[in-house]
Amino acid sequence: MNFLKPLAALFALALLGGCVAPKTVDYAAFKQARPRSILVLPPVNESPDIKASYSLMSQVTFPLAEAGYYVVPVALAAETFRQNGLDNPNDIAEVPAEKLRSIFGADAAMYVKVTQYGTTYMVISSNTVVTATAKLVDLKTGTTLWTGTATASSEEGNNNGGGLIGMLITAAVKQIINSSTDAGHPIAGITSARLLSAGHPAGLLYGPRSPKYGTD
């Protein structure tokens, strides 16, 4: 049965491989750019729910600010776009980087897209899912500094091992029980925290206002 030994070794390696961070991200441009402030553009919505864009937009400040960045006030920014005739997130995403920098004075812009937002009703239960992608772009050079994607679901339950995201999930589940009209909103908060928090594999780097700045 000696031939099993190399197999077992391979199997062990495969298992260990599973523990390694799923992908490596090149942070060279990010580290060089050292953005301090981030302008989050109104998310482009690819889901059928018109609430998706502003539901997510209202919850991006928490993870980004706690990661150590100054976040341009989101409602005020949306208002500035509106006063300049830009209401549609797709049109706003086309505004040149230089223009954004001159008005908002931000070092970088976060382009967000909601790909899934809503509830699927099943016989005895329902599942609310919010999925989004994000791209951080240096407004001085136009260079992409980081990209990410995240999803959250109401079916994940309460067992999430604590921490900032665990806390949010527990709160979200409670909120969904209390309000069936806007079930996507608390889930969008978790998606946002997963997408835009620092300190996890392939996540954003900590910004200058975090005590952990420069440790990653």
Partner: protein, 121 residues
């Protein structure tokens, strides 16, 4: 010069206790958030701006009472609400507060205050 460190049991116990307490109190945030994000969502949904301003004012008192740090955008959001309620003096105060707390916002706050003046004249 001595290389010995005096062992102080009281200090060690105090450190251990605070470490344990830190573990129990959950993740610590940089900012005191209160209702900032829910009020921003109310704004996007087009709900009463008067009610939003009242809620943010009340929460600002709570943050101050706890010696907390106001999150980025909080003062600016209040400024936006005051602006749409026609309280321009209070709007300017809040934009100035945002700028003082977060110098990163300086260019944008100046742009807004300059525009507001332009509209008023």
């Amino acid at each position: 010069m001595t290389h010995y460190v005096t062992f102080r049991p009281a200090l060690a116990v105090a450190l251990l206790v605070s470490a344990l307490l830190a573990g129990c109190s959950g993740p610590k945030t940089i900012y005191q958030w209160e209702g900032y994000q829910p009020q921003v969502y109310e704004y996007f949904k087009g709900e009463s701006k008067q009610a939003q301003a009242l809620a943010l004012e009340a929460d600002l008192e709570k943050i101050r009472a706890k010696n907390g740090v106001v999150p980025p955008g909080y003062h600016a959001q209040l400024g936006l609400l005051y602006s749409s309620l026609g309280k321009d003096d209070q709007m300017v105060q809040q934009f100035q507060a945002e700028k003082a707390e977060f110098p990163e916002s300086g260019a944008y706050m100046d742009f807004l205050m300059k525009n507001a003046k332009g509209v008023a004249q």
